[in-house]
Symmetry: C2
């Protein structure tokens, strides 16, 4: 367990000095166990009519709310969620994104992997410890239920009486998502159709489930014919205004659960100091705007040191894909003046969608806070994952090393634990790809195969994964993919252009690589990450773009499942594990 | 086992003489067991894009077809359907409507009652004998999946070498349904919303899954601005033309799996002789038009004795609710001339929607074919079921004796068999309603309760059910409800106006009441039926209007479940029966 003493004093030049330093705190285990509380929540998941962007549609909500209720807990607390499925005919699960589920892999909330879907009318209890302070969120992990609106925030505070390694007077929590007017049921059918019916760009970007489709907060937005929104304030699509006092410091917790969109946030006239990424402290650095990919979270601090007689736009726009969606907007309101007063300065302009240098500059500026755990100096095993866009029987898919992942109906946690042979492919999927593969061109042979074999990982070994991007099916096209690992944080050792080569290792950052659970690969580039496989379970590692996962862009790691104890049997009461429990095929 | 000898010679005056008589056939057991075949079917249920009424939507199909494949079998055949759920997140079941499932109540395909929903990716095998010739169909019985398009025809022929009790040269099969442009997922949310969002009238009526929404087969249909349809013939919404030869006799098999609409069919210039209802032979009688309610099936025979140089419209329109849906049309085409030649005579006009006398006249003309089984002379138990429209917490529901049915997640077949106490209401629901209840007015106290207790029926007893209609919540409104019983046919003893009284028994038809599985109650009226409870199982009896069942309009009969043997355990691997099988709550 490493400690860090007044480490912020060594921070990088762009760091702003109003940060209050906080010293001598153990970073990796700030668990005030004596204070730990059990937090019991009873949630009903159901569809309901809602107007996230002022157009009424059906959303998946929790206890009548969209987004779902925010969970707020302290490090060490035990979260119990009795989740009742009130949907008509659909199963449901919830994944607690960023929570590593140390010792509770059955509570990870991944259908087909950690558990069976919870059937309509039934209740499943998620029980897990939140062991690390940070900004997290939760979301559906079955079909495209995340896209349907099944998400909410999960905030873990340091133990009572302890402090974060930075000061702030108040905080705001912004969960970003994207929203389509077409139902996810239709989207899903389109993704499995021949020819593919792609979901297209979202109609609206949402902040805390609120956006504006048929009106704009801006009186004259671009060339849009949208009229200005008229809000009384209690509309479901009215923006949440951030009301601040002058000359204070505020923490903004930012998280993205978008189905597709990579985002960029900026606040007029206010720099942001990045202090946390995915529940891990980072070496603070200042930015004018911040990229956030689906699956990521950040904390930034801002100082309200601007003219308090003005309001300021907060703007969130699309990066990485040619945007057809207007930016999401809200107001940073200095409380002295009414929030209805329009800012005198235009909203910040989102950087050009394909200005990847801007994106890379931001991403490569993220380092762990001094004193954070550092990676082992070497790896025991390296997996090279080439992602390609492919065709299977004329259907368009995404594949890893030419295998497009399909979910089996029996959860891996059970089928691996009990050694069931007929549930998933028993051969291990490829560990790398042909050295001759031309990543700069569309695949010479675009045909791929489906599969659902697992990468069996040895306990307590150090694993490197090199994510290798490539050209998609269309010429001159390579997309951004944010990859998310369950059950572990990983160190991001480096990013590079073109094909990864042995020589690239020399440039790995082993000194202060950031710990994260989600990392992006840039077009035609690679990303290297390392983790210590110390948390037994069945863990997916996948592109966090919902339709990409649906089209096969993911793998499953099977890690010392024999060491997993105490799986609730109702987590496995489906498929071949159910057959095993039942023993008899017919009742007498 | 009763026989009937040349019974058609005694048929009613309107009977047409071209019927070929068929004598000395046993009616209730025409099972050529020696010829019995096992028919193995492999079905995948999935959503797909389709244009049932020329507008593209998502439908639930089977093996890429909508409607699903027609099953055609002979009496005594064993049907095996390996049903694989290829939906994304929804469970599925299929009910074989009209098949009594003698000895196989676990194959009845009712979620929450006979089995657990089949989860995505899993396969369940339905195995049952078709023991009685007739016109049947199958459909989803979970949520509103029937409305989504999960249905198809099931035709059972007499054993090879045997003959129906009427002659025909050819046959056609017409399965009617109604179709909405709003998805069933949205419809379902609307039905559970406060205030209620009623699904409204269907956009289109379909025959064998084909209708026309944005065009009409009629060049000048009413005041509609629809243009005439231009079909090459291979469109998914092109009508199926009935091609006939002159001076032949054809059997038309008619079945209705509508979600809502009561229908009426007529064929220009061609009388129909009704010969079968719900898989039971009836005393033949001729009609100009025929009412068919959801859940019913008929066979009629027609003679193609009209001018063979003309084509004739077949028209299907809405009864019983103020129609906002144009009639479904197709062509009876005398093969000598092209089917594209428009009939010179306008389509038959559907009787006025509220001409209930016309409806009653038809319904009361149905009698069993002479020689059919007759009911026991008396009953052992009588249940009076008052149906009312109610409010529960401001939600609008339908109730039976003031109980609005809600489906429990654990199937009754398991929970009753194993005596599980915590699955459904252990007290029996009311057997009747207060004698003072005023059926002619909106309910004085519209509040109701939800419940899911069962009516426990003793084995081999004779049960009478009096269905009593009443005024709905709105003044001067009483609706038609077709009630469908699973597991048994029943005799329809009579219909009456107003409230059923003891004296009405005297008019019961015990001589030749028709055997059916579905029967209608008319507005402000009652219907009396009788059955012998000889088929152990858990059997729903419910309004076959899909949203009405969804709003609570049904009951469950529990009948000698202890005698049920051989239930496949995977039918019960959910809810509390799964818990029971699992035994342990946590794995070591």
């Amino acid at each position: 367990m490493s400690t860090f003493s007044c480490s912020l004093a060594k921070s990088r030049p762009r760091m702003v000095l109003f940060l209050t330093l906080w010293c001598s705190v153990t970073l990796s285990m700030m668990v005030g166990w004596s204070e730990a509380k059990a937090r019991h929540l009873k949630w009903d998941v159901e569809y309901m009519y809602w107007s996230p962007d002022c157009e009424e549609r059906v959303v998946m909500g929790i206890n009548g709310q969209f987004p779902g209720p925010t969970i707020r807990a302290h490090v060490g607390d035990i979260i119990h969620v009795d989740l009742t499925n009130k949907l008509g005919t659909e199963g449901v699960v919830i994944h607690w994104h960023g929570i590593r589920q140390l010792g509770t892999p059955w509570a990870d909330g991944t259908a087909s992997i950690s558990q069976c879907p919870i059937n309509p009318g039934q209740t499943f209890t998620y029980r897990f410890v939140v062991d690390k302070a940070g900004t997290y969120f939760y979301h559906g992990h079955y079909g495209m239920q995340r896209s349907a609106g099944l998400y909410g925030s999960l905030i873990v505070d340091v133990p009572e009486g302890e402090h974060e390694p930075f000061h702030y007077d108040g905080e705001f929590n912004l969960l970003f998502s994207d929203w389509w007017h077409q139902s996810v049921h239709e989207q899903e059918v389109g993704l499995h159709s021949k020819p593919l019916r792609w979901i297209g760009e979202p109609q609206t970007l949402l902040m805390n489930g609120r956006g504006q489709y048929n009106c704009s907060l801006l009186p004259n937005f671009g060339n849009s014919s949208s009229t200005q929104c008229k809000f009384k304030g209690n509309e479901q699509c009215a923006p949440q205004v951030l009301r601040v006092l002058p000359n204070k410091t505020y923490r903004l917790r930012l998280a993205s659960t978008t189905a597709l969109a990579s985002l960029n946030i900026a606040i007029g006239k206010h720099k942001m100091i990045v202090v946390e990424a995915d529940g891990n402290y980072v070496q603070p650095f200042a930015v004018e705007d911040l990229d956030i990919y689906s699956g990521e979270s950040y904390s930034v601090v801002i100082k309200t040191d601007q003219n308090p007689n003005q309001n300021y736009w907060i703007s969130v726009g699309v990066r990485g894909r040619q945007p057809k969606t207007p930016p999401a907007l809200t107001i940073l309101n200095y409380k002295k003046i009414p929030s209805s007063k329009l800012p005198s300065i235009s909203p910040p302009i989102t950087p050009a969608w394909n200005d990847y240098n801007h994106s890379k500059s931001f991403t490569k500026s993220i380092f762990s806070l001094m004193g954070s755990p550092t990676p082992p100096a070497s790896y025991d095993r390296r997996l090279l994952f080439l992602n390609t866009q492919n065709r299977i029987d004329g259907y368009i898919k995404w594949s890893i090393n030419n295998v497009s992942f399909v979910f089996p109906p029996t959860p891996y946690l059970g089928s691996v634990k009990f050694g069931l042979k007929n549930v998933f492919d028993q051969s291990s999927p490829p560990e790398d790809f042909p050295a001759s593969y031309d990543i700069m061109s569309p695949p010479a042979n675009p045909n791929s195969n489906t599969g659902n074999g697992v990468y069996k990982i040895d306990y307590n070994t150090t694993v490197d994964i090199i994510l290798q991007n490539a050209n998609a099916l269309a010429a001159n096209t390579s997309e951004i993919h944010p990859w998310h690992l369950h059950g572990h944080d990983f160190w991001v050792l480096g990013y590079g252009e073109g094909k990864f080569t042995k020589g690239d290792e020399a440039n790995f950052n082993l000194k202060n690589p950031p710990l994260r659970n989600t990392v992006v690969i840039f077009p035609y580039g690679w990303t290297a990450l390392r983790f210590v496989a110390d948390n037994p379970g069945a863990w997916p590692f996948h592109c966090h773009i919902e339709p990409h996962l649906h089209m096969g862009m993911g793998v499953v790691l099977s890690l010392a499942v024999d060491k997993v104890k105490g799986i609730p049997t109702d987590a496995l009461a489906c498929g071949h594990t159910a057959d095993m429990f039942l023993k008899k095929k017919y009742l007498p």
